[in-house]
Amino acid sequence: MTSAHPLRRFLAFVIVVLFFPVSAVGQEILADQAKKEGKVVWYTAMALEVAEKVANTFEKTYGIRVELTRSASERVVARVLQESQAGINNVDVIEISEAGDFTLLKQKGLLKIYRPRNYEKFPSAFLLDKEGYFHAWRATVAQPVYNTRLLPANAAPRSWKELTDPRWKDKELKVHYVSGAGTNVMAALTKIYGWEYYQNLRKNNPVIVQAASQGVNIVAAGERTILVEGNYYNTMRLKAKGNPVDVIFPTEGVVLVLSPAGIAQKAAHPNAATLFLEYMFSEKTQQMLVDATRLYVPHPNAKYPPGMSPLSQLKTLTVPVEELAKRQGEIKRMFSEIFGL
C-alpha cells in the first residue's frame, strides 16, 4: 500500500538498526516508519482485558492500531505455524506464556532477533534466549486459587499435594496443556511427584478448562471451589473487582510462568512491531502491568505495591526453557492419557 522508494526504505532501515537502541532520534524515526505501516498485529495469550488495555494505550500514544488476537498459548503457536505454512504473514508480534513453544518457533526460523533497551539489566530469569530471539516481558506465578465464599481461608489446602485429597472430589478445575500455566505447572510438579500426582488428581474429576483466566472466572462464579493451576495476576484482578477469590501459596512453592515476546521473521509491519516491543518493555508499560494487573516484569526500575512480594522472596519452582521444550511431547501425551483429552 505505502510505496516508499526501496532505497529510502532501506536507508531508514539502516538508520533504525544502527541508531535506534541508543538514541531518541532513532525512536522518533522508528515511530514515523511505524506510523506509515499503519498497524501492528499482535497474537497474545494474555487475559483479554489486560491485553486490550496494553493495546489501547499503545494506540493512544502512537496513533497506530493494534490488531489483537487472543488464544491459549498452544493455539497461538499452532496458528502461527499454520499461517506460515500457508504463506500468510499476518502476525507481527507473538507473545505467549509457554517459553518451550518459542524454542520451536525459533527453530523453524519464524522469529527475528530483537533486544529491548537495558535488557542487560534484566533479571536473568527473564532472558530466555541467549541469541536474543525472545525475552520474557512479563511473568506471573501459577498457584492454586479458591473461592473464599465456599471455602474459609483456614480450610483451604496448603500444598499442591493436598489437592489430590478426595475431599476435593467434584470441586476442582484443571487447566489443559494448551495453556502456558497448565504446561508449566505439570512440568514442575511431575519433577517432584511424578505423573502419579496427576493420576490421583484425575480421581477428583476435575473439570478441564482451556485457560487459567477462564478457570479463575469459573471459581469466582462459584461453579467450582478450587482451580489447580490458577495464576496470581488474574486472581488479583478479579479479587480487586470484588469477586470472592484468593490465591494459595503452596508449601512446595509457586511455579514461575514466563511469557516471552518476539517479532515474526516475516512481519508485514516490522517497524510497528519493533516499536510495539519497545513499548512493551518500556518502564512505563512495565510499571502499568505491575500496578494494574499485578504481573511481575523484568524492568529493573519496576516498583511492586505493598502486599505483592518481590520474586526474590517467593519460593519458586521454575522449569528451565530447554527442559520445557524437551518435555512438551511427554506432557501432551501423558495429559491426554490421564485426562482423556
Binding site: L48, V77, I208, A221, G340, L341
Partner: protein
Amino acid sequence: MVHRFHLDPSLPTWIGASLLLAALVVVPLWWLFATSLRGEDGLTLLRYQQIFTDLALIRAIRNSLIISFWAGLLATSVGSIMGWLVTRTNMPLKMFFRALVLASFVTPPFVGAFAWTMLAGPNAGWFNHLYRYVTGSEGHLVNIYSMGGVVFVIFLYSYPYAFTMISNALDLVSSEMEEASAILGANRLRTAASITLPLVIPALLSGFVFTFVHALALFGVPAILAMPAGFHTITTQIWVLLSQAPQELDLVAALSVFLLSLTVLLLSLQKRFLGKRSHATIMGRGMRRSAIDLGYWRYPALLLCLFVVALAVFLPYLVLIKAAFSKAWAMPLTVENLTLENWRLAVSGYSATGEAIFNTLELGVLTGTVGAGLAAIVAYIVDRRLFRGYQLLAYFSVAPTVVPGIVLAAGLLMAYSGPPFFLYGTIWILFIAYLTKEIPVGYTQADTTIRGIHVELEEAARILGANRLLVLKDVTLPLAKGGILAAWLLMFIGAVRELSASILLYTSRSWVLSVLIMDLQAHGVIEIISVISIVMLCLTLITVLLMQELTGHDIMGVKE
C-alpha cells in the same frame, strides 16, 4: 432470422454456474481424500489404520456414536409426539407451539449449550442452586458437563427437525382409516398407536437418521460441554488435532473422510426409508379432518409441550438476558448487581466485536445473494432440463447435506491455503464454506418454486425472441420472487449461525460472531458472551420474522 454473430449469453451462464457448483463440492473433498492417503513416499492407508487402533480416536468415535444415538432417539420421540399433538389433536394453545418450536429451531445449539452451563452447571447452575435450597443437600441434581448433558442439549435444538418431518407426514395421512378405526370401537390412543403410528414409521425412521447425522456433525455443543468433562467427539478431536503444534493434517483428513463416509451411509439409508413412503393410504392434502379429542389428556399434553419449549427457549433466553445485565451472573438480580457495562464492554472493550458483527452480516448477505442466485439458476437448469447431465447438477446441489461443516472446512483449509489460491486468512474462504453448506437449502427452496411455474409463459417469451437468460430474468424470476426471497433468508440465517466450519477457517482478519462467542468462552467472560449471544439471536429472529412477513410461510415448512 438467426443472428449467427450474436452470441447467446445463456449458455456461458449455464456452464459457468454448473462448473462453480461442481467446484464448490468437489475441490475440498478431493483434497481431503488426497491428503488422507498422502504418505512419506506414495500412497498409504496408515492414517486409516491409526483411526481404528489409536485408543483416543476410537474413544472419540464411540462417544460421537453414543451421543448421536441418544440425541437422535430423544429428539425423534419428543419431536414426533409434539408434532402429532400440534397437528392432530385438540391440545389447548397449540397454535403457539409452531412459533415456539420455530424459536428452538433457530437458536444456535452452541448458544443453547452456553446458556445451559449457567442453568445446570453442577455448582453455580440455577437448577442445582434450587435443588440445594429445597433439599438442603450439598450435592448437585444435574451436571451439564457430562455425556448426558451433551445429549440433552443436542436434543433440545434438534427435536424441531423431527417435529417438522412428522407434521409434514401427518398432513398427508388421510384420516379415513383413523375414522374407520374409531367406528370399529377403538379408543383414540389405540387408533393412534395401531393406525397412525405404522403409517408414519418411515417418517420416524428418517427423522431419527436425520437428527443422528445432525448430532454427529455438531461442534459447539461438545466443545462447550464435553471437553471440560474430559472427553472428545469426532468433531472436537478434529479441531484439537488442527489447533495444536504441529498440526496433524493427514490424520485430520482421514478422520474427516471417515466421518463423511458415516454420514453418507446413514443418509442413503434414510433415502431408502423415504423411498418406501408411497403408501397407498398416504394421500394428498385437503382431506376433511377432525382434531382428535384428547379428553383429560389435553392438559398433561400441554404440560409436556410447555416443558420442552421452556427448556429449549424460555429458560436459556432468560438466563442469557439476566447475565447480560448483571455484574456477576451467578449473583442474585439486585439493583447493585444490575449494569449496562457489559454492553459497553462488548461493543467498545473488545476490538473484535465490531469486526465480527460486520463480517457476519457481510457474509450473510453475500451467501444469501450469491447462493440464492446460483440456486435459482441451477434449479432452473434442472427443472427445464436444459442440457444432458442435469441430474448430476441436482445431485451436486444436495450433496453438501452429507458433508459435516468441520469436514468441509478441513477440506477447504487444505485446498485454499496454498498456491494457487491463497484464500485462508480472508473472509472469502468463509464465504466459500457458507455458500457450499447452504446451497442444498437454497436449491430445495428454489426447486420447489420453479417447479410451480408453468413453462407456457416462458415459451411465449421465447417465441417472441427472448433468449433463455432474458426469459429467466423477466418472466421466471418475477414469478418466483417469493420463493427466491425465502431461499435468500434461509441461507442468510444459516450463514449467521455457522460455527463448525468457521472455527477452522477464521483468522484475526476474519472474525465472525459464532467464533467470537466460542473464543470468549475460553476466557470465561460469561456476561460479555451473553450480550453477544443476544445480539446474534436477535439478528436471527428478526430475519425469521421478516421472512414470515414477506413470504407468508414458515421456514420449517421447507422440507429437508
